[in-house]
């Protein structure tokens, strides 16, 4: 009796372990933070691009107004691709686009805007990347749709046709 129980026991253990690993194979192993929707916008002091003026984040985002906060940099290739969508969105009346220039060089950033156009109402400056962390961002580009000082949608990666349409529907 003792000799029969042991092989069965080991087979069951093996099957359980096999199943766990097999299931694990199908899971994506890249973690993306949960979309912190309905979270209040962070409060921070920030310099405005190409000036020495500092502004508090609470002064930028007013109630009853949609904002798209876009993190960009001139060295970021996907930012170039999404720029046309930002220009398109800027034509909409009920949304203001705020830029956050991430770890960029002032001259290249200006050149980037001159070349591709400037869709931003205000551009904030994030020299060391700590303001992007306040927003819970971890790369460029990333965008946040804001209404009444709350984040209502977070977009990781560049904007595209579908996302643009989605934003337009949300702000109507």
């Amino acid at each position: 009796m003792k000799f029969k129980i042991l092989p069965i026991f080991f087979t069951i253990i093996f099957l359980i372990i096999f199943l766990i690993f097999y299931k694990g194979l199908q899971n994506p192993n890249i973690y993306t933070p949960k979309n912190n929707i309905q979270k209040n916008i962070p409060s921070f002091k920030v310099r405005i691009f190409d000036t020495t003026n500092e502004i508090n984040s609470k002064e930028i985002f007013k109630d009853n107004q949609f904002y798209l906060m876009n993190i960009w940099a001139s060295w970021c290739v996907p930012c170039r691709d999404e720029h046309t969508f930002l220009l398109d969105l800027n034509d909409q009346k009920n949304i203001k686009i705020i830029g956050l220039n991430y770890k960029d060089n002032n001259r290249s950033a200006k050149k980037f805007l001159k070349e591709l156009g400037n869709p931003y109402n205000v551009i904030l400056l994030d020299e060391d990347g700590t303001i992007a962390i306040e927003w819970g961002a971890y790369g460029v580009p990333e965008s946040f749709l804001i209404y009444n000082k709350k984040i209502i949608k977070k977009i990781i990666g560049p904007l595209n046709e579908n996302l643009l349409q989605e934003i337009k529907e949300l702000i109507e």
């Binding site: 973690y31 933070p33 962390i133 306040e134 971890y138 790369g139």
Partner: protein
């Protein structure tokens, strides 16, 4: 007089180094406990991505502002979720993780007790 000057200078240099070294130790301890979200599998301390470098600056800033180690972890968990920490909390998702070693230890102990102690008797 010359000696006194020398001693004062000596003390100033070493006192500065001492406080700074402590801060750097804590800073690297915290950054070793944080996971980089860009190059997953590396800690913030090991990674040289833009994100990791920013987190390192942020940790240094927060320590200067007087944040404790736990407050910094909580702050970052609030922004990126629990995954950013290498030390998982004890909650309903991690019961199994935390209790399994204890359970295995107890079962192993029971088997050993059964095989050696009870058999002897």
């Amino acid at each position: 007089m010359k000696n006194l000057k020398f001693i004062i200078i000596f003390l100033i240099i070493f006192s500065f180094n001492f406080s700074n070294a402590q801060d750097i130790d804590l800073q690297s301890k915290i950054s070793k406990n944080l996971r980089c979200l860009i190059c997953q599998g590396q800690s913030i301390h090991d990674s040289d991505s833009e994100f990791a470098n920013s987190i390192k600056i942020l940790v240094a800033n927060k320590l200067n502002e007087g944040f404790s180690e736990k407050q910094i972890y909580d702050y970052l968990k609030g922004k990126y979720g629990e995954w950013i920490s290498y030390d998982p909390e004890f909650n309903k998702n991690t019961y199994f993780l935390w209790l399994l070693p204890i359970l295995m230890f107890l079962i192993g102990g029971a088997i050993i007790a059964k095989l050696f102690i009870i058999k002897k008797n």
